[in-house]
Structure formats: structure tokens, C-alpha cells
Symmetry: D2
Subunit: 487 residues, 4 copies
């Protein structure tokens, strides 16, 4: 579920937004950005064409979760060609890989996604028109995500190779973000355990160092099994699984009064009977439960489990609850975000040509949103809200294993609806490319800090440890291998 | 619950009614009614004034369930004055009594009710006008029931006293029929155990030997206990007992698809919260479950109990189910009913004066029903329906202990709504009195058969044993003493 | 929906069953069955091989509703080859046809079905094994239905051709009985208007002249349209179509208390949302409403329509109710049934070989039902129940246009579950064939009566007119052409 | 509904943001508190005994809403005795009155409540023990509220009389706060229209200048009317009003997903049927709807009205929605609150004796809360939360007519549960008295500012006008006179 980003982008009406220019950073910052920073910026510029090409390739492959064979391959091949040591098909997923360079500590990681969304095929043009009817498309901008992150690690690799930085840089090719929780399975395999800091980024319609958490979520499939009977002839001999499902959702709706305002519960019917004259012996409800914190979510989950049990009793049927996946809330690392913010501010705004602005306004018009064009400027650092806006991500889980810093970079017109043709269109042309290259630079310069500045790493770690407390990360995905579909 | 009668009266549209003139009765019947029969008819005529006076006294006392002190007293006193041996305050109920005459077998019993209904006070006139605003009234005709039965036993007593009949006659003063199940507590005390046959009758708008069963019923109070909280400030700290109650009834409504067409379930809210801003910590639902047979009802009861448990789980609250009372279905004794039918036919129709017919039509007009007047004729014996019309009675329990014969006698205009002022009005004047005296005669003549005809008693008992099978009567009322209210 | 038959077969516990040997038929019956009757029996025997071959062809084609191209063709071709005048693709359905012979009145019709059921492929053997995995199969025995009826009309045609009978015989090839209501569209096209009497039969596990009605039914699709929103981010901006659907079904469940015991309502969810994080903007419920009579059903339908409207109001969404199809209750023609019964009794029982009985018992064992073998005897005429058992058929509609006589013939072991592999297996071997040939004979002999006996036709018509009253048949299917799927 | 106070007291976990000493007040404040302030403090001290006596009288009268005859009288009499011009029985309420002194502008008002709560009788001791079983008690501290406000106006009156202040001081004796919305009817009568500023206070467990709004609320009675029928005999002839009520609440529970997190909806059943065997023809639900703003509440109210309409359609019954009362959200006047805060800080903390602290701890122990004793200090000014905690008050309405300043004063141990015996106990002894006298002083000193400082009045008015915008106050109570119960 990548929807956290969708949300953070979409929901501009973030009523809080207190700016924090007052506090004096305790993090030391070189008076002038180091030469290494200038070097990584130059590196990204140098590889611009290759990165853009990679992005366009992944954009045109448009492969969905767990099926990103070509996308994964071009990225891994490029990393290998750049001198990285690549491990493919890690953690039981054919399209998951890591690419590493350097030795010893610190070890700085970054994640790159590359899966597309079904049904969103679209040409790189400002009017809606599928490239191939019914095919998938990069409606979440993941074609930019992978290459953008890769651009950053290549820049760092060159400094390590030149002896300018010491330690290890590692790229995580993380599949199935949209559906499957690929990162969680990589985390279960221990692949993040030795990192000092991890970074990631996500396409957005604003540039910011992310300061907002995401909601913890659990994804449950609640299945009921009853007994068929002819609904006209002897309905009294049937036990309706559908009754079980309906009573379950009714119970959930009654529970809404008694959960905190930050809780979200939403469901659909997976199975709701076949034909009216047969009392359904199978029915199922797919439900997601969220709250700002995993602990709050877990309390509600317990109640929902009781409701399922109660509904089954009521309908006289059997029930089963399958945990399908689940994400932790994102643990914000403010120290890391501030470091990122400084680099973003130094890199200055993304600027757009008149053509790009017209393209953006045209697309906004088509999408029925205000024709405000592009937001290339760097937004001031936000204050973390008490409760995040609605949305969840599997980056949340990683943030409980290692301090996580997230960059959000403009790749689409202001207020673009995410998971839509609009994002696909911009991701396939210069607006998307510019955001991606800015991401590479923002991430690489921040990595320079992380390599150079041990105090920064310690401060980041200290904040992480304090926020994490003695919580132990327990992945919410079911035991067993990742749900990779069979070929 | 006397509603069985209410129903049998009200629901004329009894679609079945096949008449059975074909079969040859195996019951021998004296070519001419015995002299004893003429004697009991004469006895009832002789005591007409006293019986009418008793009825009018009980009518004017209009005492409700368990509070029938005066009504019980005048009936018991009369029996005593007639030479009966009276036991008062039996079975833990101050107003229950038995009155017995004679010795040895056979022992023939009859029941007499005398409790009124709250709020039905009405003058003995054809327009609605309470005798005393807000007071009780005999809307079910029980003022006639007790004296009518007493008239029959007095007639039999005189024959026993004269040596014309041998055995014992016993009158049961059965309180609290409308609310409390007085007969069941008398039965629990073993008071019906030694009877050969038991009779009863009930005011109606037709004359018939009852061939219709009644529904078995269980009366449950389902109570939920939760936890209060301020409904605006912290509803998430509350557990709503009202949610429990509402989910319970929702479950019951979903169950309706899966019960047989003969099942009835109906409920009201006893407690549904006090004030909106407090999450209710108490709520309760009063529910009745019925089916044609106790066994079918018991199956549904199990499901309803599971629903209560499920609802409590759903709402996160506690629950408790209190059995308040319950009636068995009435076991029809066709052999007995046929014997009664013959006597009814011999006694011929009840005839009415012009004044009575006008009174009846006036009352029908006032009550908004067709002005058809009185039905004094004796109806042919009906066929027992597969499923009885809706209604239950505690006579049902007695019918599982001893063969039961029920007479229904016209005491109100055709299609009168029972439990209404109409029934009160007619019960206080000649229309009611005529029905009562006809009841005394029909019951007494049938008792003559029962005393005289051992074969008939054997046939009745054989049918009873066959229908009862190896079922053992287990009263459904809660353990402990009858729910007599404290003074 | 052919389920009426399924039901009549399945529900042996028909509590009523009054036998009527008493009444003296007013229908004159030739002391000895006419020579014409012997002739039609001989004709069926003569064509036995061809009819069996036709049945086996249709059995192996196993074509589902509206796609019965080959099945329809072989039957129509056979009729044409026998000298019938065939009209193909009538009433807007490519597989509907009529085959007629003779001229003038009376005109006697008979229906023949030939559609299979999806997923029921099975070999003609007593253990479950699909002929072709996943393919369709004749689980309702319609492969026998078409040829069996055809055998009867061929026999009659020969008598007309020989001048032994006068009038017209017409066969209706009625497609899509299982799903689509083919007969209703043929009736809308007026194809039954000139008939004197119509016959049909259906495979069953007993031989009887059908005396039981079927339930009137209406098949509705209730669709809700709301507004999507992100279920975690801004659920308050969404209007849930699924809420509409759930509130609708809740309302239906609350209604159950307030419909007569003969009413049946049952539903499934067609659309219940896609993914939990999107407030569903579309949801739909597929519901069937039935009652013993169309008028009762129509009253309930009105209530259900109000419930849909109320649910839409509650959820703040739009709704639409589509009538998909609907059947009238079957108007039983007792006069016709008695005529059929006499012929059945004359034809005597179907007898089975030891091999067939072993086959039947083996199949009963496999299906988990009592090993009682075959019921080849002719059952006494039943009494029509006040309320039919649950089930509906589009033959019901025809029975309001023309007097209808239905034969039920044994083609499967006693108590076989209909719409199952068991019926497919027997339909493809001698047990099925025997039932089909008996059907041809029972129908043809009854047709002889109908041609020969004007009084009988008049009596049948008089009963029909009396029962029909001044009701005018209004088909419940939607306006427009039949729902024939596009190729 | 006085529950706002209950809430603000109870909910200490107010996660959001206190402190704001940073900003420099634009309100001018005399370097030294004026001599007039010292004078009002002295005046309160001078009248201490009388005020305490008044409080104790009202405490012992313990009269509930609209029945505060004696309480109203002693307060009005005291005002009159102090030279105020008193108008009794204003705005159609026998116990409402105003007491005024002085002439001309400015006109400063203050409100005083005096109604008790049913069932809360309690002695002035630290263990639970009713003064009179079942009687009312001052569980919300209104016995202190009236006299405390009166103490303030008496002090101001003396300064006006002495020529030290110019203008008019007015006391509003506001009845029926707990149930009835007395203030709203006084406001409808125009009694607040000429005020410059209005003040009020409320007993609490902390001392603060209130900066928190309250929720807008509407109080609805939703009544359903159906048609009775015997629930066992012919439930299909009934239309259940209770079904209407239950479907209504079900709809409300489904709506919860689609309202903002700040919305609260809660209900109880007023009528839920009488006896199970009668289909209820009457049922009603009492529901309160709240949101942070009236406009948000009004949107939800529209949806709830549709749900009631939909439920009635579903159940086939009639419905009616009665608006019983409703409150506006409280419009916070920060300028006024700051002025109050300064005076509170000048007046310093309330100090307690060891006996009082022991009394407080004892009561905390009895009530099962932490034994933290009393909080006499003045709390720093809070920041207004985006959404208030749950609770509503009819002071809200006044705050849309005239700028309102609310003082909250400690009269009970820390975290005392409001509307409980604890508050009654403390209100009848020195802890309550001390809080009341502090209230008199805090309010009177602030009034001095309001009389002396025209700029302050202007700033307060300007903030009021700005926040109010062009909204026009429309009382939500029904048309017609106040709901004063008949004697």
C-alpha cells in the first residue's frame, strides 16, 4: 500500500502546519556544504541520461507487484554495471535484490520501488489516453522511485571508490509495494539489520522532508462458512454464511462509536453468495483496521475479532480470520528530516519551463483541479501532527528497524490525484524526470552528511532508540514465504 | 397469557375446517342422554342467580394477577358453603385454592380463572365508558370463567352426594393467568397429578369443543451490562449495553429467514438507556419465542441464546438471560372433545333476545366490526390444524399432565376484539351470563360422561398417553416460588 | 428456474397428502381405453430408438440456456423429418421453435426443454466423474424433456395423419428454462394464445400427475450508486453504495416478521466493493421475492421497493431496481390432472431390471441418501396444498394463458438431489430413457382424451376460467427482447 | 446541559499545547492593579458570610430545573436587598430573573445558575451518604455558581454607587441549565441584546480562564408511529414502530464512518414497545448530534433526518422529528480571557488548610481517583484546540450575541468526577466556598477592567465581531414558550 503518499499529497488542507524556525538545531552543519556534496550533484548530472532512460524503461514495462521481472532486471543490471555487488531474488522474491558497494561502517541504505498499478496505462501527454487499453501504468510514480534512488547510490559509490567517503552504500530493490508488502519480507529476512540509517523517497506534488507519520494498519480477511439449503424450500435447514458476514459488518459499524477518532475501519465483501435461491455457505469480508499507532490499532483489532466471533455465533456458522498483511506506523526521525531539509534548501527549487507549466495546467484542467501549475519550491519543515492523515505504507515497518528518512519530491502538478492517469503521464516526461533527479541529489547530499558526520548518525540513532523504546518489531504479515503468485 | 383464546376467537379465517362426519365414533354414547345429565342441567338452572351474582362480584372487583384476594375469596367461600372441602393459598400463591367433593376414583378436575386486566375498566353498556378511569376490567372474561366452572362442579357434587355418581370432583381456583402462569406453579406442586381428566373453558365469540392446539412459548428477559462513559467526551471508554441489545435484536431478525414458518419471535425494549450523553451501561430486551411444538421452540431458543452471546461479544458487554415463564403447547384430546361436542349439540344453541342482539350490534358498530350480532349455535367439530394460530396458554402445561378438554363458549358478539372494553361490557350483563351458564351445563354434562363411562376415560387416557409419548413435563418457569408481588 | 421440480422431488416430507379415492369423477372415461390410446403407446414403442438417440445427443451436447443451438436443431430437424411444419428462431430467440401438424381445432400443445446446467458434466455411471472437467451437464434432465414430449406429438401426428383424430398438435421448443424464462417470451409473442390445452412434464423421482402449484416469484437487481472517497483519508467525503446495500438487506430482514409464513425472500451480493481503502461507489443486491400467489408477492415487492428507497436515503446514495424476470404461480388444473392420472394408472408402473436397481442403489450410496432404489409405481393423486413447497417455474406463466397439465416422471433414484451429477448420470442411461418413454406415453394417451373428449376440454377450460377469474396475465419480464447473450 | 464543564474538568489529558507566554499582549494593562480592584476584593471579603449562606441555602434547597423557586427567590431577594432593581419571572420562566444596578453604558452582564440534579443528594462529608435518599443534589456546583456571580456584581454595584465606576451592572438568574436551556429563552426574549460584555463561571477542579470552545449540539426526539397487531397471530398485519426506531439507529451507526472525527452522535430509546405480543405502534429515539461547529453539526443533522425518513419508509411507518433544544458552540474571546487571566494571576492561588487537603484526599480515595488533593494554583492560559473536547452548554448561544468570558474555578479535588456525590459534598463546605469567593473576586476584578478600559472593550468586541462574522444567531430551541413543566 503506497497510499500514504497518495494521501500526503492529496490532503493539502493540513490544518496544523506550524513552522519551526525558532529552535536552534543542535546538529552541526558545515558552514559551507562539503566538496563531497558538490561532487554528488555533479555525479547525478553526469548520469542524467542513463537514469532518465532507466526510468522510461520501467515506465514502459509497467509491471505490477511481484511481476516486475524486466524492471528489476534493468535496475540490477545497471547497478552491477556501475560496479555494485548485486544479490538477486533475495528474501524469497524473484524481483527483490540488493546492490552494495564499499566495506565497513557506516552502512547507509536506500530503498527503490518499481511496481506499477493495474489498469492505469496512459501516454505521456496531458490528455487521458491509454498507451495500451487495459494495461498497467505507473500511477504511483514508482518508475521514478527506483532510478532516483539508484542515482543517489551511484554518486556515493563514486566517492567511496575515490576514497572520499568510508563505509558501505546499499540499494534495496523492493518489489510489490502496491500489493504484497515486499519490504516486510526483506526485513523479516534480516536484510535491514546492519544498516545505520535508511532513506527512501516518494513522488509527490510538493518537495518536502517528510515529517508526517502514517497509520498502522492490519489487513484481515474474515471468512464465514455455513450450510447451504434451498432458500425457498427449506431455508431453516441452512446456516447463512452471508448472514455471518452482514452481522459482522453491522457489529463493526456499531463499534465505530466506541473507537478513537483516529481509528479507521473499512471493508468490502469478497464473497457475498452466488445465486439467491441457495443459502450461501461461504461469505467473506475484507477489512482494514488502522490507527495512528500500532498499539491503538491492536486494541481495535481485538474488538473486531470478537465481533467476528459474535457474528458467527449469531448466524450459527464457522469463521476464520486471516491476517493478510499489516504495516507499522512510520516512526519519524526529526533529526534526519532536518538534515535532509538543509540539503533540499541548499539545492534550491526545481524550476520549470513554460512548456512544462503549460503541460501541468493543461493536465490540471483535464483532471478538474485548480490550474495552479507546478510547486517546485522547497517547503518549510512541518510539525508532526498528533494523528497522521489517513494512509499506510510498508516503509513504516522499516522505520522500526532502522532510522528512516523520507524525501517527498515534486513529480506532478499541484494537487494531482494520485493513482491516476495524471501521475502516469508526468512520470513519462520531463516533469517526472526533474523530480527524480532532484531526489537523487537531495538523497545523495544527505547521504554525504550521514557518511561524514558521526555525531549526526549518533543523534539520529538516539532519537530512533528513544522513540522506539523497548518495542520489538514483529512483522504483521503471516508466517511463511511472501505471497508471490505462481507463474 | 390467555391470548390463545383471544386468538382462537379473533381469527375466524381458519382456512382449514374439514368436517368429519364420516368416521364412526368408537365412543359409546347412551341412546338417550342419561338422567344424570338432565339433573346437572337442572342444577345449573337452580343455582343460576348465585352463579350470576358471583360473576358480577368478580366483574366488579376486577382484580389483576396475583391480587385477586376478594375474587378468590367469594369463589372459595361459595364452594365451601356448597359443602366442598376447600384448601386456600395452595402452591405458594395466596389466591390459589382447590375445592373438592367426594372420594375415590375417578377424580375429575376443572379449572377456574378470575384475574382481570389493567386499564380496561368499562361499564356494562354498548358504548365505551370506563366504570372507573384507569382501573382494571375483565377484558378476557375471567369473571365468567371461575363461576361457570364452579356451576359445573356444584351440579356434579349434588349427584355424588345423592349417590348417583361415584368418585371425586375437584375445582382449581387458578390465579394469575394473564401474567404469571399460576397453573404451572400449581402443577409443579403436584396438584394435578391424581386427576383422571381435567376440563376448562374460556369465553369466546363462538361455541365449540376446542380442537386447536396453542403455541409453546418461552418468555425471556435478555439483559446486557456494559460500562458508562460520556458519549461526547470519551465514548471509546464506554461499552454500550444498548449496542448489545440492538445487535441482539438484529441477529434475531436475521434469524427469521432460518426458522420454520410456524415460529414466532417478538420483542420489546425494557431498558434502552436514560439520557443520550451517557453510554448506557444497562439495556434489556424482553422476547417471546414460540412454535407449534415445544421441541421446535427449544431449537430456536438455543439459537436465540447464541445470538445473545454473540451480541454481547460484539458489543464487548456482559449478558444474562432470565427465563421468566413458558408454556407448553396444548395437547388436544380429540376423544374428549368429541364427547364434549355431543353434549353441546344436545344442549342446543344459546338463544338471544332482541335486546341482546341489538346490544351486540350496537357494540359491534362502536368497535368498528361487522354488525353480525351473536353466534349462539354450536359449531361442528373442527379438524386440528397442522400449526395452531398464534397464541399460547398455561393450560398447555396441564394438558401434558392430564388429558384436557376445553370448551369455548360465546360470551360476546361475533368477532369481538378480545382484551378490549367490548368483552368487559358483555361480561357484566346477560350476554356474558348466558354463555357462562351454557358453559356450566356443557362441562357438567361432559363430566357426567366421564364419571359414568369408564371406556371413555380409558380411550381419553389412551389418546393422551399416545400423544404424550415418553415426554416428561418439565415446567419452564424458573425455580423457586411463584412471582407473587410483595404487598 | 426449474427449481420447482427440484423441490417437488426433494421434499418428500409433504405433510399433507390426502388421498382422494372417495370422490366420483364427473369426467366420463371410456370403459376401455380407446384404440387410439393403444396406438399412441405402440407409436412410442416404434420410435423408441430414435427418441433415445435424440435424448443421448442432447445429453452429450449439454448446451446451456440460450446457447442450445445443436440441441434445438436435432429436435427441430426430427420433427420436420416426421412431417411437422417447423418454425425456427421464434419470439426473438434463435433456439426457440414450434413444430405443428394438422389443422383446425382443437389445438393441443406441449412444451419441451433442452438446456443444460453449467459445471455439471458427468459420465453415465454411478460414481461421480465428469465427462469433461468444468463442462455443462443435464443436471435437471432436460435432455429427456424435449425428446419425451416430441415422442408424444409424433404419436398424435400419426393418428391425425390417419384420420383417427381431428385438430392440431403443436410442440414448443422452449429454450432457456434454467436461466432466462424462454417460455415467457414465447408467450409474450402470443404463441400460446390459440391453444385449447397445454401439457408439459418434468423428470422427477416419482411418477405423478402434478397437483401442486409453484410460488410466484419476482427477480430483482437492486443497485446502489454512491461516491468514492479514500476510506482512511476522507471517508466523510464518500457516500457508500455498500452501506446502501447493507441497510437494504437489513431492512429486508426486519420485514420478515411482517410477511406471511408463505413468503420467501432471499438475496446475494452482486457487487460489494473492490478494495477496502476506497468507499465503494457501486454495490448491488440480487434478490428474489416469492409467495404462493402473485398478489401476495406483489404486496411484499412494494414493501421491498420502499426498503430500497429508504436504504438509499439512509446512505445518501442513488438506487435503481431492475426487474430481471418473474414467474406466475402455477394454476393447477385438477380436471386435467385427473385425466392424466387415469392414463398413468392404465399404463401401470415402470419396471426396472436388477442392474438398474443396483445402479440406483449404488448412486444413492454415493450421494449419501437412503438406498431405496427406484420408485416406478404411479402415485395416487395428491390434494393441492394450501401453500406450495418452495420453488418457482416459468410454466406458471403459461398456466395463466391456457389450461396446463403437468406430468412428473421417474428418471432418477428415489430422493435424488436435483441439479446434481446424479441426475446427469441417470439421464444418460436406461433409467432416464425409461422415464422419458413413459412420459411420451402418459402424455400421448392424455392427448388422445383431449382430442376425443370435448366435454373433458370444456370441463378443463371451465376450471381454468374459474380459477383464473378476471386476472389478466402480465408478464413480469422486462420490456424488450429476450436477454439472449451476444455471440 | 452543563456537561461542557464536566468535560473540561475531567479530561486533563489535553494533549495539546499550553503555554504562550511569548506573545506580547496588545491589551494595555495598568502597571499596578487599580484601586478599584482592591475595592472589589475587599467587598467580596466583606460579604463573605452572606454569600456563603446563600450558597448553603441553595445547596440545601437542591431544586431541579425549572423548579428552583426557593433558590431563585433567595438570590433575587438578596440582590434586591443590596439595592438592585430586580425583574422576576422574565422570559416566560417563573424562576428566571434579572437584577440590575446603574445606568448607561457600558453594560456588563454576568450569569448565575442555581439548578440541582436529580438523585444526587449527599451530605457535606468525604464519604458517600445521601442527605435524603433519592432527593436531588448540587452535583454540578450550581449552588456556588449563582452566589459567586452575585458576589461579583454586588462589589461592582458598590463602586458604581460610590461614583468610582460608570455604567450598568446586570445579573442574570438563569434557570434550568441542566435540562431546558433557560439562557436560550432569555436570549430569545432579547435580554442580552444591550450588553457590552457578558461573564460567567463554572465550578471545576482547576482555576483557569477558559480558552476552550464547546460543541454545537442539537437535541432531537425521533418518533415513529406504526400499526399494532398480535405478534403471534397476525404480525403481517402490523407495522412496527420499533422496527422503524431500530432501523433508524442502525442507519446512524452506518453513518458514523462518513462523518468527521469531531462529530458525536448518541441516542437512547425513549419508547421501545410495551409487551412482546403486541407489534409496537409507538417507538421513539432520543438522539443528540454534535460537532465542533454548528455548521458541521447541521450537515450531519440533515443526514440524520434522511435516515429517519428512510427508516420510516423501510418499516412502513410514520415518523416525526421534534427539535427539543440545541446549543451553539462557545465562541472563545481570547482578548477577554487574557484580561481575566491577568486578574487571576494577581489574585494568586487558592490556599487550603490541612483539613481541607485531607478531606480532598479522603474523597479522592473514596471515589477511586488518585489522591492528589487540591489544585489551587492559577493555570497558564491554554491554546484553543482545533476541536473542543466533547461537551456542550447553553452559554454557547450567549457567546454569539455578546462577547463572553468564562472563568473556571476550583471547587472540588483534582479530577473529581462531575455530576457526582463528590461535587455535592465539596459544594456544601469550605472547599466549595473558597472557590466561589475566588470566583467572585476574579470576575469582579475583570469587570473593573471592562468598566475602566474602553480599549479593552473595543478589542473584545472587535475579536467577537471578527469571529462571529455575518452569522446571525438563530436559537435552535422550538418556537413557543419555554418547556416549563406544569405544577
Amino acid at each position: 500500500m503506497p497510499e500514504i503518499y497518495f494521501i500526503s499529497l492529496k490532503k493539502i488542507s493540513m490544518k496544523v502546519c506550524f513552522f519551526f524556525l525558532l529552535f536552534v538545531s543542535t546538529i552541526t552543519w558545515a558552514q559551507d556544504p562539503s566538496k563531497n556534496k558538490s561532487a554528488v550533484v555533479a555525479s547525478v548530472d553526469k548520469h542524467q541520461k542513463e537514469l532518465t532512460h532507466l526510468s522510461d524503461q520501467v515506465w514502459s514495462f509497467a509491471e505490477i507487484a511481484f511481476k516486475e521481472a524486466q524492471s528489476s532486471k534493468v535496475l540490477a543490471d545497471y547497478a552491477e554495471a556501475q560496479g555494485f555487488s548485486v544479490k538477486r531474488a533475495v528474501a524469497g522474491m524473484p524481483t527483490a535484490f540488493t546492490a552494495e558497494y564499499g566495506t565497513g561502517k557506516p552502512i547507509i541504505g536506500i530503498m527503490g520501488e518499481f511496481d506499477a498499478l493495474p489498469g492505469l496505462s496512459q501516454k505521456a501527454q496531458p490528455t487521458k489516453d491509454p498507451l495500451k487499453e487495459g494495461a498497467a501504468g505507473h500511477g504511483c510514480g514508482h518508475n521514478l522511485f527506483g532510478p532516483g534512488s539508484l542515482g543517489a547510490v551511484v554518486a556515493i559509490k563514486e566517492l567511496i571508490a575515490a576514497g572520499k567517503l568510508k563505509g558501505t552504500i546499499r540499494f534495496y530493490g523492493t518489489p510489490a509495494e502496491e500489493n504484497g508488502g515486499g519490504k516486510i519480507y526483506m526485513a523479516k529476512a534480516g536484510l535491514f539489520n546492519d544498516l545505520d540509517v535508511c532513506l527512501d523517497w516518494h513522488p509527490d506534488y510538493e518537495n518536502k522532508a517528510n515529517m508526517q507519520s502514517s497509520q498502522a494498519i492490519i489487513d484481515l480477511l474474515v471468512e464465514f462458512k455455513g450450510k447451504s439449503a434451498h432458500a425457498a424450500a427449506d431455508p431453516w435447514n441452512g446456516k447463512s454464511a452471508l448472514d455471518g458476514a452482514e452481522l459482522f459488518t453491522t457489529g463493526v459499524n456499531f463499534l465505530r462509536e466506541h473507537v478513537k477518532p483516529s481509528v479507521r475501519m473499512h471493508y468490502v465483501y469478497r464473497k457475498g453468495g452466488n445465486v439467491p435461491n441457495v443459502i450461501p455457505d461461504e461469505a467473506s469480508v475484507w477489512i482494514w483496521i488502522r490507527d495512528s499507532k500500532r498499539i491503538g490499532m491492536a486494541e481495535v483489532e481485538e474488538r473486531v475479532r470478537d465481533i467476528a466471533k459474535g457474528a458467527a455465533l449469531m448466524a450459527g456458522v464457522q469463521y476464520d480470520i486471516k491476517v493478510q498483511t499489516g504495516d507499522y506506523e512510520l516512526l519519524i526521525n526529526e533529526t534526519g528530516a532536518k538534515a535532509l531539509q538543509k540539503n533540499m534548501e541548499w539545492l534550491g527549487p526545481i524550476t520549470y519551463t513554460n512548456e512544462e507549466i503549460l503541460f501541468a495546467k493543461k493536465i490540471q484542467k483535464e483532471a478538474g483541479i485548480e490550474e495552479t501549475g507546478m510547486k517546485g519550491e522547497v517547503k518549510p519543515l512541518e510539525k508532526t501532527k498528533e494523528d497522521p492523515d489517513g494512509g499506510s505504507t510498508d516503509v513504516g515497518d522499516i522505520s522500526w528497524i532502522v532510522p528512516e528518512i523520507t524525501f517527498l519530491g515534486t513529480t506532478a502538478p499541484y494537487k494531482s490525484p494520485w493513482h491516476s492517469w495524471v501521475v502516469v503521464a508526468c512520470g513519462g516526461m520531463s516533469i517526472g524526470h526533474k523530480g527524480m533527479l532532484f531526489a537523487s541529489k537531495a538523497l545523495a547530499t544527505t547521504m554525504v552528511d550521514l557518511f561524514e558526520n558521526e555525531t549526526l548518525r549518533k543523534d539520529i540513532r538516539a532519537e530512533f532508540e528513544k522513540k522506539k523504546g523497548n518495542n520489538v518489531w514483529k512483522p504483521m504479515v503471516p508466517d511463511g514465504p511472501p505471497p508471490v503468485p505462481k507463474q
